[in-house]
Amino acid sequence: MIRVSGLTMVFGSGDAAVHALRGVDLDIPEGDFVAIMGPSGSGKSTFLTLLGCLERPTSGEYYLDGRDVNTLEDDELADLRNQKLGFVFQSFNLLPRHHVLRNVELPLIYAGAPREERSKRAQELLEQVGLGHRLTHKPSELSGGEQQRVAIARSLANNPLVIFADEPTGNLDTKASSEIMSILQKMHKAGRTIVMVTHEPEIAAYARRIIYFRDGEIVREEVKDELR
């Protein structure tokens, strides 16, 4: 479902040029759970940004669900992110001024979903992550683990093909981390494709496949078990 080949990313130019990615080839089939590991500066976050269509690669091909992403306009990319992709960030990135329900509704608002339908959907998702009783709280009134659960609910709003998670447990304690990971694992079991960047081996261990990055290239890959 995700196929990239020869993907490169260069920041800056001339002597100051930084080669964040130096030709990456990767296939991620539907239903996969991939962990991307590597030291900082290895290009793993840049790679996730490109997969998430948040930035365009310097060169290389990217096919997502059969579409050539490089040919899409900015607004088409926005729609693609809205409909097919979900994001979970290290720092949760919830909007502090809006309550939890509204935060989860945001992707649905941009999708143009009718008011009642989207609030019902957001409520369902929050119940799924165990926050049905916190709908009208502000994010600052929640713990880190709860905030990340809100973010996961938000990422699922439009029932996307892929969830991209960038260090989802980076700001959480062990207990909250394992809560979040068990939610992600449950999603994987239910057939959702997940691509996650992490530098913690015990977090990566939840994934089916672990891909190691170094200096902008894939250096090693571990597969735990076959994809059903």
């Binding site: 940004t49 998430g52 948040l54 930035e55 900015d74 607004d75 926005a78 729609d79 992110r81 809205n82 409909q83 994001f87 960030f89 990135n93 909007l95 502090p96 001024r97 809006h98 509204r102 945001l106 992707p107 608002i109 941009y110 999708a111 143009g112 008011r115 938000r154 439009n158």
Partner: protein, 402 residues
């Protein structure tokens, strides 16, 4: 994103920075208040001019004064009592003409009364004035030619003064003391709607035969002649005839005269109004400009504060237009807020000016639409740049922003 969602999100965002929002809108509020005051003053002034024309009745009115620009003043030799009749006889262009001693303020009281004397404006004049100024008599009669030749001790009073002096009593035939001279009331004028010439500023007016007025005031000077022309076409003719006749009659003293039409006089009123309008308008314009720049500034601050948030919204699927709408919406909402406050103060200001200047306060639905429209335009104008900056951020870069 539909409109209701936009409004709700904008509202939630602004509420998060209440103090900032209020401070930002002050400039806009002052500007909008000014704009409303300008419109009210402009319309009020105009309505006074129009009602004045309607009251004075005709565009045929003119008056003749000594040429003040050449340093002449009205003294006892400027006009003579016979001038009006003479001019009327000689020039077919002149329909009516009266001489007036422009009213000095005099005390009027009724005998055997403890009431304080009332300050009134005394006009000494001829019977023609009633037709010239369109004065209608409600009770009794206006002055007659006989009154003038007989130096009759009679007086015509306006409706306001009749109320003040006699309340419910019948004023006709009663005596009033003007200064210390007893005069008999022979007529009461009809009530006129507020107008500059008589009841405005609460000033009452009385009319006495010019001959008796001169004696009472011990002043032989006639301050001006006023008349009406036979037709619109002959108005200029009437003025130039009058001036020529006067200059030849008083040629030994080498006098100069100048005629003014009602229109020209009202133009002067209009000029005062337009000066006022320009001054307030300039202040309002500057306030709006400064206020608008303030809105732009605060929106730029908001964009840079919320860069990461913009990145997130884009990651969640916000299109360029969604971001644009949201920030433009906030700028417009700030201006609208200022516009509402400004409108309230503008309306208060317009009422105050109207009260002081004694013209009707004119606040129409258009004033409100103007305030709203202006606010929206300023919001869009000054919000466009910050909003487009927000909308054009790259999502990945915005998300990396700390």
């Amino acid at each position: 994103m539909n409109f209701a969602d936009l409004v709700q999100i904008v509202w939630e965002n602004l509420r998060a920075h209440r103090m900032r929002a209020v401070l930002t809108t002050i400039g806009i509020a002052i500007g909008i208040a000014g704009v409303i005051a300008v419109v009210a003053v402009g319309q009020g002034g105009e309505s006074v001019i129009i009602s004045e024309i309607e009251n004075m009745g005709s565009s045929l009115y003119f008056d003749i004064s000594p040429d003040y620009m050449r340093g002449e003043t009205a003294d006892s030799s400027t006009f003579s009592l016979e001038d009006p009749a003479l001019i009327k006889d000689i020039s077919p262009a002149v329909e009516k003409m009266a001489a007036i001693t422009l009213g000095p303020m005099v005390d009027v009281r009724i005998p055997q009364s403890q009431k304080k004397p009332l300050m009134t404006s005394l006009y000494g004049t001829n019977p023609d004035l009633a037709d010239i100024m369109k004065l209608s008599v409600e009770k009794g009669r206006f002055l007659s030619d006989l009154d003038v030749t007989a130096h009759a001790r009679v007086v015509v009073i306006d409706a306001g003064l009749a109320d003040d002096l006699f309340s419910n009593e019948e004023p006709l035939g009663k005596k009033v003391f003007v200064q210390d001279t007893p005069l008999t009331v022979v007529g009461v004028l009809e009530k006129v709607p507020s107008s500059m010439t008589d009841s405005s500023f609460g000033v009452r007016t009385i009319y006495a035969p010019i001959t008796s007025a001169q004696e009472m005031l011990n002043n032989r000077a006639i301050s001006q002649l006023c008349g009406v022309a036979a037709s619109e076409e002959t108005l200029d003719q009437a003025i130039s005839d009058s001036v020529k006749i006067l200059e030849s009659r008083h040629s030994s003293l080498n006098k100069h005269y100048v005629g003014t039409t009602l229109e020209e006089q009202l133009e002067m009123v209009g000029n005062v109004t337009s000066v006022l309008t320009t001054v307030i308008g300039a202040v309002a314009g500057i306030a709006l400009l400064v206020g608008g720049v303030g809105v732009m500034n605060i929106m730029l601050v908001a964009v840079s504060e919320r860069t990461r948030e913009i990145g997130l919204l884009k990651a969640l699927g916000a299109r360029r237009r969604d971001i644009m709408q949201q920030f433009l919406g906030e700028a417009v909402a700030l201006c609208l807020l200022g516009g509402m406050v400004g409108m309230i103060f503008g309306i208060i200001g317009a009422f105050t000016i109207a009260m002081v200047a004694n013209w009707p306060p004119l606040i129409s639905i258009w004033t409100i639409l103007l305030a709203v429209g202006f606010s929206v335009i300023i919001g869009i104008f000054f919000g466009l740049y910050p909003a487009s900056r927000a909308a054009s951020l790259s999502p990945a870069e915005a998300l990396r922003h700390l």
